[in-house]
Symmetry: C2
Subunit: 333 residues, 2 copies
């Protein structure tokens, strides 16, 4: 249970929505209608001790509150989406490799800093909730979000609520087995979905092509400075139909479609929402390839009622989802 119980009128008060990433912290003030009325941003500085990072989160949240001209004490709650394995009930981050955190009681310390109730959940879950409530999934009850970033993140909303399963780790769609004895994944397994279709996997295949001397505008653009190949650059090269990029991304689209098909065949949701930097920046033809592969690999009757759609909110999905989550948790108390 949260220790802070003195709260203003829950329904009328604004909430803070926070997205904690490995490189940046985003905070926002969200009014009772779900509108973002102030924002702030800070570098995470994940290399610092966790106490410092949590102070930076609190500062970022306070900055957003100050911009909105609303005193912190007038907020109903704060919601925060965090990466890694965590427990929404205890508020503890069990393990967040890209923050180097282990067993950090994020909620307790953040409540001490902000003096309002704090609710935590996984960042991808929060993003999926944001899209479900305010983005491309409005009006839907069962939605799965698949976000193509460095890896591939998944979030599941069932019956309108975040579904965490027995471990609070449900939705690790990036780690479903995809290719027998495939490339090694960051998780230690081989051939996971994200090890063949996440951005790191795509860039790995592009670099392999470049090293083999394949023709590509990317070699003119980045030379051997491969770390410059990010989602936006990949999407632009695709949009220009760069041969190497097209070849690698076509393969990735087939795998992404298979991942989508697996989700549809098991869960038959109202929608699979595709998001993340690459999806946001790329043209419709790429989405069509994904859909084609998803259709070819889904059980036909399960597919019939599922939409495959693009996320609409970009970075706002996480902060909006966190804010709405906090409000919904509060109303259940």
């Amino acid at each position: 249970m949260n220790k802070i119980t003195k709260v203003p009128d829950k329904k009328e008060a604004p909430v803070l929505g926070i997205d904690l990433g490995g490189t940046k912290i985003l905070a926002s003030v969200v009014d009772p209608t779900g509108k973002i009325i102030a924002r702030s941003k800070k570098k995470t500085k994940a290399e610092k001790p966790w106490r410092v990072v949590i102070s930076r989160i609190a500062e970022c949240a306070k900055d957003a509150a100050e911009i909105s001209n609303i005193p912190l004490a007038d907020f109903a709650a704060a919601g925060i989406g965090a990466p890694g394995a965590l427990n929404p009930d205890t508020g503890i981050i069990n393990l967040a490799p890209n923050l180097n955190w282990e067993n950090v009681n994020l909620r307790e310390i953040l409540e001490q800093e902000l003096q309002i109730p704090v609710f935590i959940n996984n960042d991808v879950n929060m993003g999926t909730l944001g899209e479900c409530r305010m983005g491309s999934g409005v009006g839907m009850k069962n939605v799965v979000g698949i976000f193509i970033g460095t890896g591939i993140g998944g979030g599941i909303i069932l019956d309108g609520k975040i579904y965490g399963g027995a471990s609070y780790m449900a939705g690790e769609i990036g780690h479903i087995p995809m290719v027998d004895n495939g490339p090694l994944c960051g998780c230690g397994k081989k051939g996971c979905f994200e090890a063949v279709a996440g951005r790191l996997a795509i860039v790995r295949d592009i670099i392999e092509g470049l090293k083999k001397g394949k023709e590509s505008i990317l070699s003119d653009e980045v030379g051997e400075n491969y770390s410059k190949i990010k989602s936006r650059r990949l999407a632009l090269a695709w949009n220009k139909r760069d041969p190497l990029t097209v070849k690698v991304l076509k393969k990735a689209a087939v795998y992404i479609g298979k991942g989508v098909a697996t989700v549809i065949t098991i869960l038959s949701p109202d929608a699979v929402i595709l998001g993340g930097g690459l999806i946001e920046a790329i043209d419709e033809d790429f989405l069509e390839l994904i859909k084609k592969s998803a259709e070819a690999n889904s059980f036909p009757s399960s597919l019939r009622n599922t939409k495959i759609i693009r996320a609409l909110l970009g970075d706002d999905a996480g902060i909006l989802g966190s804010a709405l989550y906090a409000r919904e948790c509060l109303s259940k108390k």
Copy 2:
């Protein structure tokens, strides 16, 4: 809505639990404590017109009631698990290939025959519900059932309730994509889970081996009468360590483990319950192979809280699940 509204005291009255299969109909009388107090069985005769089959279902149910010495009018309701694509809200079987049914209003006609409220759902969902409430999943909220029969059926219980998704077709786990350009599946796709690990797939691989002259006790047992190779015979040959059977089933176990891993990585349920004829008849070593493959292919943190266990109820899972489903639907009205 069901048209029949006159019902006896819901909580004290028994319910009928029916399992409609392609070859046999099972009916049972289940008392308020969940105990089966009478049973009956009839051939489906799926080759006959659907009206005839529904009359046979009604007769089977009436037989069970008669054995229990309880007049039909004293039952609270009947639940029936049926194969294929159906809609529990309308009571209509949209498509059941192994019955040759299309758009049959099973519920309405069965209510006319029995004069008590009837509730329908998919047979595998009912079996999973039965295992969840009275079998190996007792006390669990999120459970996935995987039944290895002719094909591979899946049922999903989330938050204690059957999860149907947008199409009422969720849980078609047998049709998740498993092998690129693999063997043709009955659904028209290639390389589905059941096309490489269902009983038909296993028998196909065994026959291929027998035709190549591989050594096997099965060739002594069945000669060229391959249709005699059913689940029990396969399990016995495995238990005796018949070389061809062991080779084929080891491969199937790896695929079954991958299917289990996919479910665990996406849903992180409390348990994956494995059932069906083959699983019931086979020894623990086969289960261990499945578990080993599931562990190797699951995202480690998702796996941690999920048990992989054997179904306990056999054929009773379906009739008990149907009976409990009817009771639960009734209590919601």
